[in-house]
């Protein structure tokens, strides 16, 4: 009788090999992309306070979301929980939202974050942010956030493409994205995305939430902090 264990192991090995080769091939094209280094002086000139804020800047509660644009759970939270928070807390002026980049999942995560700040230069940070999560695809580094697609998103939002391209090719916001990643890890202790810090801006009291929690978690926490 044929040994099912051997068949299973051989099948798994073949599938794994094929997938690894496919992935390795797609990653090779990214290896020769140069990245500008970021000095400590550059970090010092940047502050999280400069981050775009969704909602009233004087709101009592600030929700800080630590995320990666290629993270599936971040997309899930964006689609399922965020709209209810916007409706009940951000539009009513009770809370505001800040996004802190922690691009760690793939090579396209950093350019995607950079692109949001290039869009911010033209006043469309949150529109671009929403577009990335709306059009996020399953495959990490599968091309949905390639340079061409990032440019296409900018075009669809009516951004000045020449200015956007210049911003992307000169890595204008690379230092800022890197700084945000450092802040996410060191200040907020994030080791996964999404991670949230819900802060009462008056008392400084804060609560940490790890994962794509449902609306009820945020409702309870925000109400307890207001």
């Amino acid at each position: 009788m044929v040994d099912t264990k051997k068949i299973a192991v051989a099948g798994a090995a073949v599938v794994l090999f094929v997938i690894l080769v496919t992935f390795a091939t797609s990653y090779m094209s990214d290896f020769d992309t140069p990245r500008t280094s970021t000095t400590e002086d550059e970090f010092k000139t940047l502050e999280l306070k400069q981050a775009p804020v969704l909602g009233s800047k004087t709101a009592t509660v600030t929700i800080i979301e630590v995320g990666d644009y290629q993270c599936h759970m971040c997309k899930l939270w964006f689609e399922e929980t965020r709209p209810q928070i916007i409706e009940n807390y951000i539009n009513t002026g009770k809370a505001n939202l800040v996004f802190v980049d922690m691009p760690f999942l793939g090579f396209d995560s950093i350019p995607a974050s950079e692109a949001t700040y290039c869009a911010d230069d033209q006043g469309k940070y949150w529109e671009y942010h929403s577009m990335l999560f709306t059009y996020q695809e399953d495959e990490i580094d599968g091309g949905w956030a390639s340079a061409t697609r990032l440019q296409a998103f900018a075009f669809n939002l009516g951004l000045d493409i020449e200015q956007f391209d210049k911003c992307m090719t000169t890595d204008d916001h690379y230092a800022r994205v890197n700084y945000n990643k450092q802040v996410a890890v060191t200040e907020f202790g994030a080791n996964s995305t999404p991670t949230f810090m819900i802060v009462n801006t008056l008392s400084g009291e804060s609560q940490r939430v790890v994962g794509a929690h449902p609306y009820s978690t945020f409702e309870n926490l925000i109400d307890s902090l207001i």
């Binding site: 099912t4 264990k5 299973a8 192991v9 099948g11 798994a12 599938v15 794994l16 997938i19 690894l20 992935f23 390795a24 990653y27 990666d68 993270c71 599936h72 759970m73 971040c74 899930l76 689609e79 399922e80 760690f104 999942l105 793939g106 399953d138 495959e139 990490i140 580094d141 080791n191 996964s192 995305t193 999404p194 609560q207 940490r208 939430v209 790890v210 994962g211 794509a212 929690h213 449902p214 009820s216 978690t217 309870n220 926490l221």
Partner: protein
């Protein structure tokens, strides 16, 4: 085949083993896959998009508990351990799928192994459903073969 299940699970110890294995697999998997949150409150949540993934975790845990408990019975009956390995292989394959995603496991894997870690994490995330289906298939085969083999051996022993 029904008779075999009846014989095995008429003994409370095998029901306990099956429930124990189900819990040991199901609870960690729903925590890792972010269906159950322990902090800041105990929250259970299944979004419409993740219903399939949750159903596969339930199926995988259930089949693993059946496969392993049946094989423990078989080991005790005929002192043969070969198929228990297949059920463990099936369980491990299924459990590893989707365990990475954007969670702390992925962060650790990527931070430790760099590009290789990133590739592995991507693979386990993208192919979460096919991997779990494969695992369910392996466990199904193991249960089928084990039950047939037990039917034969029980007849011989009777």
């Amino acid at each position: 085949m029904n008779n075999i299940f009846g014989i095995i699970y008429s003994k409370p110890s095998y029901i306990l083993i099956a429930v124990g294995i189900f819990s040991l697999l199901f609870i960690p998997l729903i925590i890792i896959s972010e269906f159950l949150f322990l902090e800041p409150f105990l929250v259970f949540s299944v979004y419409p998009e993740t219903t399939l993934s949750f159903s596969l975790i339930v199926t995988l845990s259930f089949l693993s508990s059946l496969a392993v408990s049946m094989n423990i019975y078989r080991v005790k009956l005929i002192k043969e351990t070969r198929k228990i390995g297949s059920s463990i292989v099936g369980t491990i394959i299924g459990a590893s799928a989707g365990a990475c995603s954007c969670g702390p496991i992925a962060f650790s894997v990527i931070a430790t192994f760099g590009t290789i870690g990133s590739i592995t994490s991507s693979f386990l995330t993208i192919y979460e459903i096919p991997i779990r289906l494969t695992s369910i298939g392996i466990l199904g085969i193991v249960i089928f073969i084990t039950s047939k083999s037990l039917s034969r051996e029980c007849k011989v022993n009777l």
